[in-house]
């Protein structure tokens, strides 16, 4: 630590005003405050003594994302070697997944942070830390075979039009990572849906090349259920073996990189709730809304496979758990009032299931549900606040 500190102190004058590389001061500030707690204290107003700041809470989210990310990497390798019919041990599977996911992660960070730095430089502000989490989320919510240039275009679009035009980190109406996914989904639908994109059958860095074996199918469980002709809610894994609740809970099924394992996501959820970074009310109410709506469809719904899917399986398939834990709880775009959080989360869960069941074009509805409710987050808060004011006014009048 001391070693890094020395380096930072040594090169600091170069980036300060008057230094040779003063033009890149925002980049330097960003790295310095990332490595060390800023050596500044509040000059006036309230002094709250706490170690937490935006950078620390963002870092907590990234740590919470790690189990799902690591499991996702392993799952990419696991699915790949099944698909090409080769034996591979745990470390080979993980290494393959790491190599396959890493380029997307790097591209997302390079493009997003590049734009952030340029904007910070132009506006003469510090680089905000918001993209730290967004860049980590992006590779987790896209299919493994998404071309890198598409990721770059979508990330640029999302950072500029979903974040910077609204004023940067903390001012965005929509979740930036989800806008990246939505852009990809609507602009390049063939790269984001179907049964060809969820399992990597080609090589990663010239390693692990092979051809898909007979009987291989890369369709996700929700994709299978959405196109199923029969009314029975049965889905299968990559090799056509019938799979069930526990397969989906542990996560060895095809899907976007980070979304498959509900178990790993719940580990992250525990950390987020324990540190108080994300709201447990939103998480719980998303699951409650999803379970309730799925139950309604189970009882009264149409006779399709997806409507007949048991409610508890709805919650572990697709991006439901991932969205509930990491996307819906985004403190910037979610509702802020305590009552509002319950309403906000419940509606996300409910709308996600409605989209899944009633729209055959969209096998998954979590992204659309969260983006839709992002719009209403502030409105829900407004209603809650207004009703609170009304209640209190009534009380005041009674006392008089």
């Amino acid at each position: 630590m001391k070693f890094i500190k020395n380096i930072v102190e040594k090169i600091k004058p170069t980036f300060s005003e008057g230094g040779k590389l003063a033009a890149f001061h925002s980049l330097f500030d960003a790295i310095e405050t990332f490595l060390f707690v800023p050596n500044e204290t509040a000059k006036n107003g309230t002094h709250i003594h706490d170690a937490i700041d935006t950078k620390r809470s963002m870092f907590t989210v990234v740590v919470a994302l790690l189990p799902a990310m690591l499991f996702g990497m392993w799952n990419v390798g696991y699915q790949h070697f099944i698909a090409i019919g080769q034996q591979a041990n745990f470390f080979e599977q993980f290494a393959f997944g790491l190599l396959a996911v890493l380029p997307t992660l790097l591209v997302a960070y390079a493009v997003g942070l590049g734009i952030e730095v340029i904007v910070a430089q132009v506006k003469k502000e510090e680089v905000a830390e918001g993209f730290f989490v967004t860049g980590f989320l992006i590779p987790m919510i896209v299919p493994i075979d998404t071309p890198l240039w598409m990721t770059a275009v979508a990330t640029a679009f999302a950072v500029i039009f979903a974040k910077e035009v609204f004023g940067g980190t903390g001012y965005n109406i929509f979740n930036v990572a989800l806008i990246t996914r939505a852009f990809l989904f609507f602009a390049y639908p063939t790269a984001m849906s179907g049964d060809k994109v969820w399992v990597r059958t080609r090589d990663a860095f010239w390693w692990g090349a092979g051809n898909p074996v007979d009987g291989f199918s890369g369709a996700t469980p929700l994709g299978q259920l959405g196109t199923s002709a029969s009314g029975s809610p049965v889905f299968s894994d990559t090799m056509g073996q019938t799979a069930g609740f526990w397969d989906a809970f542990i996560g060895w099924i095809p899907g976007s990189v980070g979304e498959t394992s509900t178990l790993a996501i719940l580990l992250g959820a525990i950390l987020l709730i324990a540190t108080g970074v994300a709201s447990w009310k939103i998480m719980l109410s998303v699951f409650a809304g999803g379970a309730f709506t799925a139950l309604l469809f189970n009882v009264f719904g149409p006779e399709t496979a997806i409507a007949n899917l048991p409610w508890y399986e709805h919650l572990v398939l697709g991006g439901f758990a991932f969205g509930a834990v990491f996307m819906a709880t985004d403190p910037v775009t979610a509702a802020r009032t305590e009552t509002g959080k319950w309403i906000y989360g419940f509606l996300i869960g409910a709308i996600a299931i409605v989209v899944r069941v009633l729209n055959p074009g969209y096998p998954e509805g979590m992204m659309l549900a969260i983006l839709l409710m992002n719009i209403f987050g502030c409105f829900i808060d407004w209603c809650v606040v207004q009703s609170n004011i009304k209640k209190r006014m009534k009380r005041v009048k009674q006392i008089k």
Partner: protein, 208 residues
């Protein structure tokens, strides 16, 4: 021909500092609907220009005889007549485009730019000025449409005016047309981009 400053302002103002689409935010609906390809956008822009100019002149000629309590109805009748003529001409000489534009030619009647110009300008100005004002506003509307349609057709289907301009080898290298460009939502974002660029160039137009 030498134009006075005022006439110049009437003709050229709507192109930039007083543009109906990007300054007054009128006619957005059709700007989203007909800009998937360049050709219908060109025809639409031209049609609106002709219709505004003609309707402006007609209303301006009879402006002193219109009773003010029925003026909207009179304006509508005039506009409807001109729109019908343009629509019939298109059907006769450019049938394909008129099919592509479908109801949007007819809906020019309800285009806010038209009623706006008739109400705000033609009712109180001489025919020649009104004609110039119509031309200016028509072109102001048209160039926005053409720019939006240029990017939507280029990025959405790799073509311009129906001709393939992005070569096959780019597609072979992995390029894919952007499907979002075919949706109206992207037209809105492109209009926003034009406004963004326009305001950054003309700093005096920025809201304080």
């Amino acid at each position: 021909m030498k134009l006075s400053d005022k006439t110049k302002q009437t003709l050229l103002g709507p192109l930039s500092s007083n543009n109906p689409v990007i300054m007054q935010v009128l006619g957005i609906c059709s700007a989203l609907a007909v800009t998937v390809e360049l050709k219908p956008a060109l025809v639409m822009g031209l049609s609106v220009t002709i219709i505004v100019a003609l309707a402006n002149v007609i209303i301006s000629l009879i402006r002193n005889t219109i009773p003010s309590n029925v003026r909207i109805i009179v304006q509508l009748v005039v506009v409807a007549t001109v729109v019908t003529i343009v629509s019939e001409v298109l059907k006769a000489f450019a049938y394909d485009v008129s099919v592509q534009l479908s109801v949007y030619i007819g809906l020019i009647i309800t285009n806010c730019i038209l009623m706006g110009r008739l109400e705000a300008f033609a009712m109180g100005n001489k025919p020649w000025d009104s004609f110039l004002d119509g031309l200016g506003n028509g072109f102001g509307y048209a160039w926005i449409l053409v720019v939006v349609a240029f990017f939507r057709e280029l990025l959405g289907s790799g073509k311009l005016l129906g001709f393939q301009v992005i070569p096959q080898c780019v597609y072979d290298a992995g390029y894919v047309n952007n499907g979002l460009m075919m949706m109206p939502s992207m037209a809105l974002i492109l209009v926003a981009c034009i406004i963004w660029v326009h305001r950054s160039i003309n700093k005096d137009l920025q809201d304080k």
